[in-house]
Symmetry: D2
């Protein structure tokens, strides 16, 4: 950002001596593309591109980790200060903006042809973008559950892939271990905060249960209504029966989810927590227009948008690898592409936020609130 009109004489001596290139550390930065032989003259334009794009990814990842850590620390408080919410939304939007850049970078990578890439690929082995410690840190900080992780080739655990060649600790494993030890995940603190949301009145288990009961009733009523209309069209008793079964199943699944009964192995404390989290999500989405819910709702929206931006990046990554390296159709090779595609399909961190969308009601169907005035405010008064 250029500011030529500002008077450079207006600064204390210590600062006057720091020029743009010193502040940005341009010379050190531009000396980090020396490749395998520590000799940039042996690095082709194509390999320089490869190195630089990966360096740019690491720089973006660093910013993402900073924003996520700040957001986590704000949401770790109890109660979360109201001023924190717009700040967290801004952090998440920044992360979204960065993932969008990162997604677009694959186009630059695709200016490499397969043959260009083969020219230096062999020397890259076993160095692989999969060894990005910071990407693993982002997943850990967000709260990706370990049991969702898709195993990678022979290494098994993602941590194995980060070890030094002789199996010892590396800077990458140290980063990841420090992140794991560095505090709760965003998912954890956001779910904690959601579980404290006052639902139509003072917070407490009773209010949650009352709200869920009335919401499940409303869900059943909406489903029943649609079923009744459908049955007018149904030709045969068999059709009628099939329709009834279907709507009943839909209602039962929604109720089980909202009441935390969808995982039979969960203990009661876990279920109670899930109930509160899910009730809060349904509540925030259903009464979006209440002024006091506006910021919490923005937090949820921004969280979804942030996770989505990462999924879009993963899928675009798969398409780039497929384009440059290819896919042998039908022979099941190409584990790299498949792995990347599978992470996009299976990795969902804020899974309850995604699931809640499937059981929301049309605005006229949501239960009426008992205490709507608790959620209003005025600026002009």
């Amino acid at each position: 950002m250029r500011e030529p009109e500002v008077d450079s004489a207006a600064n204390p001596p210590s600062e006057r001596n720091l020029n743009y290139w010193e502040y940005i550390r341009v010379e050190e930065l531009l000396a980090l593309q020396r490749g395998f032989d520590d000799d940039e003259s042996k690095v082709s334009n194509d390999e320089a591109l490869f190195i630089v794009v990966h360096q740019i990814y690491e720089l973006w990842f660093k910013l993402i980790l900073r924003e996520l850590t700040t957001a986590r620390d704000l949401f770790r408080q109890n109660p979360v200060p109201d001023m924190a919410m717009s700040s967290v939304v801004r952090s998440f939007k920044r992360v979204v903006a960065i993932f969008e850049q990162a997604t677009a970078h694959f186009r630059v990578m695709e200016t490499l042809t397969t043959r260009d890439f083969l020219g230096f690929r062999d020397r890259l082995i076993p160095a692989s973008g999969f060894q990005s410690a910071q990407l693993r840190e982002i997943e850990i900080l967000l709260g990706l559950e370990d049991d969702l992780r898709i195993p990678i080739g022979r290494e098994g655990s993602y941590k194995e892939a980060l070890k030094a060649a002789d199996g010892s600790e590396s800077s990458a494993t140290r980063r990841v271990e420090a992140r794991i030890a560095g505090g709760p995940s965003l998912k954890r603190v956001i779910y904690d905060w959601l579980s404290r949301t006052p639902i139509d009145g003072p917070s407490g288990a009773d209010g949650v249960d009352r709200f869920l009961a009335s919401y499940i009733d409303a869900h059943r009523a909406e489903a029943h209504d649609r079923m009744a209309r459908a049955q007018q069209q149904a030709m045969t008793p068999a059709d009628e029966g099939r329709l009834r079964e279907r709507y009943e199943a839909e209602t039962a699944v929604a109720a089980a989810f909202l009441l935390g009964n969808d995982d039979p192995s969960a203990d009661e404390a876990t279920r109670a927590r899930l109930r509160r989290v899910r009730a809060a999500l349904v509540f925030l989405e259903s009464y979006r227009e209440l002024p006091r819910l506006a910021w919490p709702r923005e937090v949820v929206d921004a969280t979804i948008e942030m996770e989505q931006s990462m999924l879009i990046w993963r899928q675009r990554h798969a398409r780039m690898v497929e384009r440059v390296i290819g896919r042998r159709t039908g022979t099941g090779g190409s584990a790299g592409v498949d792995y990347l595609d599978q992470t996009a399909l299976r990795y969902r961190i804020f899974s309850d936020m995604w699931a809640v969308r499937t059981l929301l009601l049309r605005q006229p169907s949501v239960p009426e609130l008992v205490h709507p005035d608790d959620y209003r405010f005025k600026v002009e008064d």
Copy 2:
């Protein structure tokens, strides 16, 4: 790019020890955001963003300089090997892809509010993005004429702005001086190559003159035709006269341009060169469909696209600065925004390529070639 299926045992020992993070130099890279006090703990997320985005610009600029240098060296040859042309087009397309990334990055910068930015702006002075030596190098390597440059505040010359605070040489001035001394500009070598293009037959001044004469005739005929139709509509003798004047002026301007007579101060050698360059450009655009002209035409198209991508980047830069720092309407402040907007309006490197577009003819109007077969070839035969 991940390659988990590859067997890491398949590499000689020297290479096995280089992991991704060593190859990419992750640790050194992530240690370059320590700000003014050489202490990252004092750097806010907002300032880290500012530093990183500028570092990313410098990394992209490095790749651009590499591609432009390679392209310049290929076109420096006489004759330019035919294999070079698709290679240069690929380089230019890569530069376009990079400028598009760089343009999109301003959105990330715009996640800074004015107040966020003010929080660390004062310490930035006099460090300014304007001090990017590599951006100046790109302009020099492309061939931006010094007399087009818009002066910057008090410094006058752009080179002044790159000096150390005490007026001595800096790494930035050294970079720029080395670039100036490092060989001809892309504009120079591309114009040299254009001036050698065989125009409808063996290359030579005669062929050029003959082609230009017939093209100017065709241009006059097309203009005359449009004038005749227009005069049928003209109500009054005055309208008729005005129309005639207008079409005659248009034809005269086109002819003067094509014949290199538009700059009265130019000497005959300069004019002869301009004639050849402009004849080549008109020729390539007018007979685009001839197979043998396809690659030269792609070179011209990619050159225009590359310059355009830089102009779009400049204007988007102006909009980002205006958004974050503002513009005091009417009081003439905000020299930074105006400077950036003016560079986009005035800086044109390949000005003849832009100008030629205004006098191209519809396909049925272009003169017929004498030697069209010289420009054909067959793949399937």
Copy 3:
């Protein structure tokens, strides 16, 4: 959006018969690309592209007009309901998203070469994208002042350009006149709302004046502080004098702007209104972190973002026209490109929002509020 799992039997007869292609009116839509001769077989792919891209612009413009009208109607109320604010922000963000699409479309247009375009250009005259009534309506609805408008060629007024060829009314002029008659502009209603913002206490002229006085003091103090530091560096008494003049001028300009004294021709009522609007803008930006100011602040941010997105679209438009039609450097032709570039530089609707950015203070310098508690609220309580 596909919903294959839904049971089509569940709908009343009247709706069952409406398929996607009927709902979207696909057949009518795909019959609107028949060109000049009302015969699509005479329309080339290039011309079809030209027609379709312009149709897509008109479709997007329609959505923009709907959102802006809704936002205008919400802000026309007094007081503006607090629930309206997040709704207006969503409308503005949607407009931003649409302008971003529209900006990207120029790339599709650029797949036309100059010669492709010349193939059908002559028949387009006088039809020109400049005759888009909806684009004029957007400017009118936003509140572009007529005296800022840049005259277009011979027509003079933009309304002339929309008349039928024989100078009579057209559907385009009717649209524009209806828009002008259709109610106040967004600028008008947003400024009205800003002028009612309670500034550090109950709204009223006294509070505004008190706040502006303390803000101007803080501005002077910050400038003085920077001057003092600068003078320590100043070498000569002349430098010292020059610096003092400069900082005093800066402070005076800021004070005149805030007090509405920058336009000597304005009457006192106008100045009073400007004072209130500008005080509100400075207030919202300076205390961004106060929860109750968060939505008003989002409205201002989204307004700026929306205007910026339109400016970016204008400049990208200029670059597309220059690329396809060219620019005759130095001969001053190419009025089309220049016109488009000038609109981006001169058209600013929410000019006070842009101007305020230049006189904001660093967070530690802003005056302390007397009534900060008026601007807080809690969600968790």
Copy 4:
């Protein structure tokens, strides 16, 4: 594209009367958003957005179908005229540019919240974007094999989904049937053209077989070389054996593919054709730098880029639907999202082009050509 400087008097009467809004058919176009009740006043902004975005998709699809048809007709010729190749590449790049726009539009759709969408969703049933006849036509014209298609819910065949509610013919089924009857697919004609490519000498089965044999040898040699290096690292005889098996399998799979032996059910004519197509692809990629191969290679590259752009659009589509409608994790609902994701993973039209990338060799490993001079040419001579 604005052209205000042009004299409107310069046109014959018939054309003078056609204004922009008549040419673009603005009034008819803006009357097509009247929704279910044929009454635009009942259409909310959200529903208008939904309708318009789908209309814009249909307009883009129309352009894509035009370009693909033109390209198909050019490649249907035998031999394909050399001038056709750059034209086809331009068509494919235009399709890419359009799919990129279409991909970006999902962001506009995402300004709909789930609740906004629920407000009008029920009335949409059974209208669904899946009923886009033009999208099916694009797949047919490209050459998507029917046996790759993923069944959609209860309808089974994609053609069923396009029928009218009462099971009769509709404009959609008529479009699709006409497309199927309208000539060969692009895949068919491109593969025909590839099968005629002269491979290192005059075209003919002998040359193809000779080239494939030498290429398979080179592939085996490269694999052997890597194996030898790997075995130096292997610790145990078991490791050594495992490595040998692995490299032998890799070589065998590559040879089977190149010789067309990968599908045991194929007859000899089919295998012969596959051999020629695959040999041509390997040949074009391996000798990319030969001038005369440059355009055929660009055709292959642009084909891959075009297919990729459609896959990216499909995946982004899935992410939009998931964001707006959600995904019930683990319960297997959400067939819409899964269906869209699966089409992106399974639909590959130019599968041989993707597969060939996995067996390309590094440049130093490719066999030397016998007749390289057949593939050179000169512009400057």
